[in-house]
């Protein structure tokens, strides 16, 4: 149902995902772990700014970072993302029902327009 969804557990994940740069970073990490410098390369922003994004992602549990002092490569953690996707998919039947009704509306309009069938 649409009620009692565990939004509280997911709000940190969604807030972290709300930023397009962070989504791009996650996309890059889906291909394999990377250092801050590697992650910063495609963006017109500073390494410091990328570091701040990584902190948000780390706080949300979406990534983990290595302990090697200098490089600290970031790694994608699939579980929070999977939880978010699982939650989202609970709304799929809602949209399927909605489009079925939309279909009916448009069909009725077409029928009314071309009464000869």
């Amino acid at each position: 149902m649409l009620t009692n969804v565990p939004v509280d557990e997911l709000s940190t994940t969604f807030a972290a995902l709300a930023d397009p740069t962070r989504r791009e970073i996650l996309g890059r990490l889906a291909e394999g772990e990377a250092t801050v410098n590697q992650l910063a390369a495609p963006f017109p922003i500073t390494v410091q700014a990328v570091s701040r994004h990584l902190k948000v992602l780390e706080h949300a549990g979406l990534i983990t970072r290595g302990r090697t002092a200098q490089l600290r490569p970031s790694r994608l953690e699939g579980e929070p993302l999977k939880d978010a996707v699982d939650w989202l998919q609970r709304y799929r039947p809602f949209w399927e029902d909605s489009f079925a009704r939309l279909d009916q509306r448009l069909h009725d309009k077409t029928g009314a327009r071309t009464t000869d069938g």
Binding site: M1, L2, A15, A18, R23, L26, L88, Q89, S98, H107
Partner: protein, 146 residues
């Protein structure tokens, strides 16, 4: 009827519903952006949205809101969201949530194109709800249209 092609697909980031309608893109666009129409189909037949509760400010950054009475118990749900991108009659990106005041949910990308194969219908909207890849989905959608 029976002329409608529907597919509903789950992937790693969310889901995509593709639906062919016997209508023009302009007609489908109007269904999304006219309060009287949207209130009627949003939530399907199991839910009621009184038109009087529906507000729409259809422009980038504009808000929308609706009160829904869902299911036989008519459970009251407050919906709200924001329009992020509008490119009539092709692209509509919007957010929605039934938890007003909480962090917004990931946006839904609606793409209306003309790859439907029906003789009368030329709209094939795909609605994509994608947790992580909304931006990439948007680019893909536009690339498909242009």
């Amino acid at each position: 009827m029976g002329e409608t092609a529907i597919s509903s697909e789950v992937d790693a980031n969310g889901f995509t519903i593709v639906h062919v309608f016997e209508a023009s893109r302009e007609e489908v666009w109007a269904e999304w952006t006219t309060p009287e129409s949207f209130a009627d189909w949003f939530g399907g037949t199991a839910s009621e949205v009184p038109v009087s509760t529906m507000t729409m400010d259809v422009r980038p950054g504009g808000a929308w809101a609706a009160t829904m009475y869902a299911g036989p118990a008519r459970h009251e749900i407050q919906w709200e969201g924001e329009y992020l991108e509008l490119l009539e009659p092709t692209l509509l990106v919007l957010t929605l949530t039934d938890q007003p005041g909480e962090d917004p949910w990931p946006p839904i990308t609606v793409v209306l194109d003309r790859s439907g194969r029906r003789t009368n219908g030329d709209a094939l909207p795909s609605a994509r709800w994608d947790v992580a890849g909304a931006v990439r989905a948007r680019r893909r959608g536009l690339g498909h249209v242009l």
